[in-house]
């Protein structure tokens, strides 16, 4: 079709420039690269590298892979030489909540009194969650739980420099079964007393 039209145009060279221009312009406007529009438009980009191109490739493709060596983690040691667990009871939280319930406030007063007497100790508050949430959100929720407890200890006069918080999300459950009783035990703030080396 395109060829025929080209021939016709050639034969009719004697026509006025204006008429050719008109034919051309209308041809371009109306038809454009018509064929292209008919062919499936979605697959236009990468189809440039089609089989023909591959066939023309000289020689064989060498299949390679970058070697992945095993490496060692950057070691980061804890500055604390000693950890004491179990001196204080866990503070438990409601599902997806991070406010400290009234019932736990006596336990918190016990901690603040102990901290006042043991001036070199640091208390680390570990925030934990039950397994029902998703990893990253649980890590944030555990962080909020630890911070809520920290805020209450601050209000009782424990200096900020002697309180640390860390979240373990759902990764370190205290109770392994999948039931409400167990989940309730896992939604907790857990206290660890830390002693620096040499103290």
């Amino acid at each position: 079709m395109r060829k025929i039209m080209a021939k016709e145009v050639k034969r009719n060279k004697i026509f006025g420039a204006a008429s050719i221009a008109l034919v051309l312009a209308s041809f371009m406007l109306l038809t454009g690269c018509q064929k292209k529009a008919i062919v499936q438009p979605e697959v236009s980009q990468p189809s440039a590298q089609q089989p023909e191109a591959m066939q023309q490739q000289k020689g064989a493709e060498k299949v390679t892979e970058q070697k992945v060596e095993t490496v060692k983690s950057t070691d980061i040691a804890s500055p604390y030489a000693e950890e004491r667990r179990g001196m204080f009871a866990d503070i438990l939280f409601d599902y997806d909540q991070y406010d400290v319930k009234e019932a736990y406030k006596p336990e918190m007063r016990k901690i603040s009194e102990w901290m006042a007497k043991n001036s070199s100790a640091v208390v680390s508050i570990e925030g934990h969650c039950d397994e029902r949430g998703t990893n990253e959100y649980n890590l944030a929720l555990g962080d909020r739980r630890a911070k809520s407890v920290k805020d209450y200890l601050l209000s009782l006069g424990v200096p900020s420099s002697r309180i640390e918080t860390i979240s373990y999300g759902e990764e370190k459950p205290a109770c392994m079964e999948q039931n409400e009783e167990c989940w309730a035990k896992n939604r907790r703030a857990h206290f660890v007393i830390l002693m620096k080396a040499g103290k």
Partner: protein, 429 residues
Amino acid sequence: MMKTDKGQRTKGKIFVFLFLLFAIHCSLFTVDAEAKIYIDITSPSAKKLPIAIYDLQGSLGKEISEIIREDLIFTGLFMYIDKASYIEGPSQAFNPQNWTPLGIEAVIKGNISVEKDLAVTINLYDTSEVKPILSKQYHTEKDLFRQLAHTIANDIYLALTGMPGIFRTKIAFVAEDEGDKGLYLMDWDGQRVRKLGLKGKLVMTPHWSSDGTKIIYSSERGRQWGIFLLEFLTMKEKRIFVSKGINMAGDFFPQGDKVAFSSSKEGTPDIYILSLRDSALKKLTSTYGIEVSPAVSPDGNSIAFVSDRGGSPQIYIMRSDGSDVRRVTFEGSYNTSPSWSPKGDRIVFSCRRGKNQICMVKPDGSELLQLTEQGNNEDPSFSPDGRYIAFSSDREKIKGIYIMRVNGEAQKRVSPKGLNAAGPGWSPN
């Protein structure tokens, strides 16, 4: 207005010339666009292409062909026709008449010679013509035969669909490693599982840079949550951020020069952007609640994240400068872990429907779909072609890495049975 005959003729010639140029231009373009596409993968109703895949002739032929078959079948675009029905002998010349009566539309034949290395010849035929539409040689070391098979599958997939395949991509994930958590890498099909050696008491989901040369992840070491970056080219790990509280990666921006992450360094978890060039830090959110899991859109202009500012964890989107925050998810009371499709037209996330499931939604909040039903499913991550999703699931009791098609079909575990694994990140290449 008077013009000479000669002048008109010259003009005429110019127009003819222009016309021919135009015609050539058109024909050049149409050659490209006319290249035959056997499967239009963008069409949801596309019929599966019936394909015959011979065992390659030679040692390792069976193994290599099986990998090619599994790759192509998992796409859901091909109907594999079993060897038993092939009339043509594997070493006989290809003859379309042996195939068209069976309704087979594409045939893969090839052979292998094994000396020191593997040398493979592959021919892909369209059964409507005698000549192969793809004829290619490969060579490689023997222990790279899986990579070789995946490379062949990629070439066949490209020839038949016009789109690059994902068969050489990898999945990074977190699994138990001698009592700690460690980073692992495996092929997308779950083979060649290897430990990277990078460990911590805890390690969270790794996220790839868009060029596939780096991952970032967060890890708890020495009672501190830090954000770490691993360069695959040098295999060097660097801690890029640490502070009190939690620090959680996060996602690369498309150019790889910045990362978004969540930190509670100022009290509550908020979203920050860290420049990897000058370590400049920019805070994007400040609420009393939790803001976590930032996912940068493929164009780098938006960040999807999780916030509990409305009373329950939901997916929100903001611009990368922190402006224009809007909520995306409204259904259900627990929507977390957003991740973008490579085109940026979908967000996949974990949705609570009794248990945690994988859901997908358009960034404007429309067309919400639930893709999984069994067990708890978390941490979805798109394949680079946007056709598959990797996620973690506890449906077989112990957590493992699963993959599925983007419509929820063909769900299967790919990580080794019995390995407690989570947090998959699908490599971009």
